[in-house]
C-alpha cells in the first residue's frame, strides 16, 4: 500500500452528505462550473495539483462490483474527492487551505461534520479521518510532475514547428536569430528532469525496505 508513486500523491476522500443536500449540491456544482468558472481559478493556479475531482454519489447509486453483490442500504449519500498532486500530503493540504479556503468550503460545506478549511488542523483531521488509502497506485512517468509533463508537451510541439519553419537556404545568422527566439519563447519549459524530493522519512523507510526485500528475493535465484 502506498499513496505515493514517483512525484505524485494519490488522494481519495469519501465524506457523507444527507441525501437531499446531495441533490442540491449537484445542482450547485453544475451552476458553478457552468457560470462562475472564476471560482476554479485558484484551483487551476495551484500548479502542484495535477487533477482534482469531486463526485457526488447518491446513496442509492453506489457501484457494485457485480450483480451478485448485495445492494447496501446507506444512510447517507457521499462525496468522493479524488486528487493527484505533486508533493506531500501536508504540503498539499497546506497550500489548498492557504490559497483557496473559500473554494474548499464551497465544495465541502454541506458535508456532515465538515469543520471549514481554516483553522487548519480541524481540516487536517477531517481529511485524514475520511481518507481512503490507495491499494494500488501507478505512475507512468515517476520522474515527471504534472508541470514537467505540460512543459515537455509544449516544448515538443514548439520544437516540431520550429524545425518545420527552417529552410535549407537560411543563412547562419537568420538561423541563430530564429533559434534565440525559439529559446526565449520556451524559456519557461526548460527545467531539468530528476528525482522526486523525498516526501517523508516514512516513505523513505518504505522504499528502503522494498530494496532490501528485492535483494532478499533475488538471492535464492542466484544461489540456484
Amino acid at each position: 500500500m502506498s499513496n505515493v508513486a514517483g512525484k505524485a500523491y494519490g488522494m481519495n476522500v469519501l465524506t457523507p452528505l444527507r441525501w437531499w443536500t446531495a441533490l442540491w449540491q449537484k445542482l450547485i456544482f453544475w451552476v458553478v462550473v457552468k457560470t462562475f468558472p472564476y471560482f476554479l481559478k485558484g484551483l487551476l493556479t495551484l500548479s502542484l495539483i495535477h487533477y482534482a475531482r469531486w463526485t457526488i454519489i447518491n446513496r442509492w447509486s453506489f457501484p457494485r462490483l457485480d450483480k451478485t453483490q448485495p445492494k447496501e442500504t446507506l444512510t447517507y449519500s457521499y462525496m468522493l474527492f479524488e486528487s493527484n498532486f505533486n508533493g506531500s500530503w501536508d504540503q498539499y493540504i497546506d497550500s489548498f487551505s492557504f490559497a483557496i479556503p473559500g473554494g474548499l468550503d464551497m465544495f465541502w460545506r454541506w458535508n456532515i461534520k465538515y469543520p471549514k478549511s481554516i483553522p487548519l488542523h480541524d481540516f487536517y483531521h477531517y481529511i485524514r479521518f475520511n481518507q481512503i488509502e490507495c491499494d494500488h497506485y501507478y505512475n507512468a512517468y515517476p520522474l515527471a510532475s504534472a508541470n514537467d509533463v505540460k512543459s515537455a508537451k509544449r516544448l515538443t510541439g514548439n520544437l516540431r514547428s520550429f524545425a518545420d519553419s527552417l529552410t535549407d537556404n537560411m543563412t547562419d545568422e537568420a538561423f541563430m536569430d530564429a533559434y534565440r527566439q525559439f529559446l526565449a519563447d520556451n524559456q519557461h519549459a526548460l527545467g531539468s528532469m530528476g528525482d522526486s524530493p523525498l516526501m517523508s522519512t516514512s516513505h523513505q523507510l518504505v522504499q528502503h525496505h522494498k530494496q532490501v526485500n528485492t535483494a532478499h528475493e533475488k538471492q535464492p535465484e542466484e544461489e540456484a
Partner: protein, 513 residues
C-alpha cells in the same frame, strides 16, 4: 488580533537581528548536561545573563543597549537530559525530535554535505544546548564567555562540547562568527562578496519600527503590506491559519518560545569565483550582473534586480544614489527624503512586473527563498496574493564565520552560520530548503536548484536559467554544470524557550498534568 507581546519574556534574538544593532562579533558553543540536576543548576545560574527582547532605549532611559548579549536554546536530547516530563517531550513536533541529521535527505545534505563529513562536534550524541554571545567587539564576547565558563565549571556536570573546525584545521570548543571587514571596517557582506541580511519578515508585536513593514510583511487582498501573524514566529500566539501553532504542554513551556535552525554552511569560494569567471566570459553583461542574477541582488550594495535589471540601470542607480547622498550629507532635506524613498525600494518590491524573470530570474536565491506573491500567477486566484508565502517565512539571524586569511580557498574555513527562527521548522525552513531551494516545481522549473546553496553536483542538468525579455531577440542564458558552492558542516534543531519557561525548566517544575 494579537495582544502586545511581553517583550521582556521573549529571548532577544527572536525579535532582534543583533548584527543590525551593532554587534558584529559572536561566539556560539554547545553544552552537554551529564546529569539533569547539575544541568538545571547551571541553567539557573545562566538565566540572569539571558538577553530579552525589550527595545533598547536610545539615551538615558533604561534598558540601554548592552555591550554583549546572551541567548540559549535546547535540542530535544537536551530537554530530555534536563529531565522534562515525557508528556511534555511528546508534544514537540516530529522534525524537532528527530533533529537535523535525521532529516539530511529532506534537506539535501548529501555528498560533501552529508552528516558524516560534518565537524567533529556534530558526530555522536550529546549536543544539548546552544549558547550564543553577541558582542560589540571580541573583548566583550571573551569577557562574557569566561563568566559563563566560570559558571559551568562551578556547577560541574556540564561540559562544553569541543570539535568545531577552525582556521588551519584546528579544532575549537566554540564557533566564532564575525561580520566581514574590509579595510578595517564592518561590512554587511558574506564571503562570496554579496551584501546580505536585508530581507527579514515583519510580524505583529515584534517591536520594530513600523516604517520597516513595506516589503517585509504579507500582502492583503488590496495589495497592501500588513504584519504577519505573531504565531508564525512565536509559539502560543495565533498564526496565519488562525490557530495556535503545534506546541508542547503545558502552555507556559511553549508560550513566547520558538524553534531555531542552526547550520554551519561552508562557502567554497574558489569554486564560486572560478565558476563565475568562466561563465562570465559568455555572459552578455558584467561579472557583477551575473552574480546578481544568481542571488537577485547586486553584490556591492544589495540593490534588487527588480530595481536595476542590467548594467546600464545599475550605473544610473549608483549615480542617483551618489548624488542624493552628497546632497543629503550637505543638509538638503528634500534630497534626504528622496534618498530614503529610493532606499525603501531595496526591500519594498514584488515580482508583479517581472512575471518572466527577465529582471530577477525566477530561480534566483531571493526569489526562491521569499516568493513575494509571485506564485499567484493569475491575479485574484488566491485568498490573498501572498497566501502561499505567508506560512513559509524565515527570521534569519546568522553571521559569517572564518575568513580573514590572505588567500581564501575552498579548503580554508569560511561561510555562514545560518540560523533561522520560526514556529514550525518543518513547514517553514524544511519546506523552503526542500521545495524551493533544491527543487522547482512551484516555479515550473523542474528539478533546477538554487545556484548558491542548492545541492548541485556539476552535472549538465544542474543549472540555472537567466530568463530574457520575451520578443527582445535575446536568448535566455543557461548556467549549467553548477558545482556545489556551499556545503553543510553541521547543525541541529533547537527550541528557544521564553524567560518564564527557562526558569521553570531550571527549577524542574514543568508539569503538564
Amino acid at each position: 488580533m494579537n495582544r502586545p507581546l511581553d517583550l521582556d519574556d521573549i529571548q532577544g534574538n527572536i525579535c532582534k537581528g543583533y548584527g543590525r544593532y551593532g554587534f558584529p562579533k559572536a561566539r556560539y558553543f554547545f553544552l552537554q548536561f551529564h546529569t539533569p540536576d547539575q544541568g538545571r543548576r547551571c541553567l539557573h545560574q545562566l538565566i540572569p545573563l539571558i538577553t530579552n527582547a525589550e527595545p533598547w532605549a536610545a539615551d538615558g532611559d533604561s534598558p540601554l543597549k548592552p555591550d554583549v548579549t546572551t541567548n540559549i536554546a535546547f535540542t530535544y536530547a537536551g530537554l530530555e537530559a534536563l529531565g522534562l516530563p515525557q508528556r511534555s517531550l511528546n508534544g514537540f513536533p516530529g522534525e524537532f525530535r528527530m533533529g537535523m541529521k535525521s532529516r539530511a535527505d529532506i534537506l539535501g545534505d548529501n555528498g560533501p554535505s552529508a552528516p558524516e563529513h560534518w565537524d567533529p562536534v556534530w558526530q555522536g550524541e550529546g549536543i544539548h544546548a546552544w549558547v550564543s554571545i553577541n558582542g560589540r567587539d571580541m573583548d566583550a564576547v571573551e569577557t562574557r564567555f569566561s563568566v559563563i565558563r566560570g559558571i559551568i565549571s562551578d556547577t560541574g556536570g556540564v561540559s562544553i562540547r569541543p570539535g568545531h573546525r577552525g582556521a588551519d584545521n584546528t579544532l575549537l570548543p566554540w564557533q566564532d562568527a564575525s561580520a566581514v571587514y574590509e579595510n578595517g571596517k564592518v561590512t554587511p557582506k558574506e564571503h562570496f562578496g554579496y551584501v546580505d541580511g536585508i530581507g527579514n519578515p515583519y510580524f505583529e508585536g515584534c517591536g520594530n519600527d513600523p516604517s520597516r513593514l513595506p516589503g517585509r510583511g504579507k500582502l492583503n487582498k488590496e495589495g497592501q503590506w500588513q504584519p504577519l501573524a505573531t504565531g508564525e514566529f512565536i509559539l502560543g500566539h495565533v498564526d496565519e491559519a488562525q490557530e495556535y501553532p503545534l506546541a508542547p504542554e503545558p502552555h507556559l513551556l511553549a508560550h513566547n518560545g520558538t524553534f531555531m535552525v542552526y547550520r554551519k554552511l561552508h562557502e567554497n569560494v574558489t569554486t564560486f569565483h572560478h565558476y563565475v569567471d568562466s561563465v562570465a566570459q559568455d555572459f552578455d553583461g558584467s561579472r557583477e550582473l551575473l552574480m546578481a542574477k544568481f542571488s537577485g541582488r547586486w553584490p556591492d550594495n544589495g540593490a534588487p534586480l527588480t530595481l536595476a535589471p542590467d548594467d546600464e540601470a545599475k550605473a544610473a542607480l549608483d549615480q542617483q544614489l551618489a548624488s542624493l547622498t552628497e546632497k543629503a550629507d550637505k543638509g538638503d532635506a528634500c534630497a534626504a527624503a528622496q534618498l530614503k524613498a529610493l532606499k525603501d525600494q531595496w526591500i519594498d518590491f514584488t515580482y508583479a512586473d517581472d512575471k518572466h524573470g527577465s529582471r530577477c530570474p525566477i530561480g534566483a536565491h531571493i526569489r526562491r527563498a521569499n516568493t513575494r506573491a509571485s506564485l499567484e500567477t493569475q491575479k485574484g486566484a488566491f485568498n490573498t496574493p501572498s497566501a502561499l508565502d505567508d506560512r513559509r517565512r524565515l527570521l534569519r539571524r546568522g553571521l559569517p564565520y572564518g575568513g580573514g586569511q590572505k588567500e581564501a580557498s575552498d579548503a580554508t574555513e569560511q561561510g555562514i552560520i545560518f540560523m533561522c527562527l520560526g514556529a514550525s521548522i518543518e513547514r517553514q525552513f524544511e519546506f523552503i530548503q526542500q521545495q524551493w531551494i533544491n527543487y522547482s516545481n512551484d516555479f515550473h522549473l523542474g528539478n533546477d536548484k538554487d545556484v548558491l546553496i542548492g545541492s548541485n553536483n556539476g552535472r549538465l542538468t544542474d543549472k540555472h536559467i537567466i530568463q530574457t525579455q520575451p520578443k527582445s531577440g535575446k536568448a535566455p542564458f543557461f548556467c549549467s554544470h553548477l558545482p556545489r558552492m556551499v556545503e553543510t558542516r553541521g547543525g541541529d534543531y533547537f527550541f528557544i524557550p521564553s524567560i518564564t519557561a527557562l526558569n521553570m525548566i531550571a527549577q524542574g517544575i514543568i508539569d503538564p498534568t
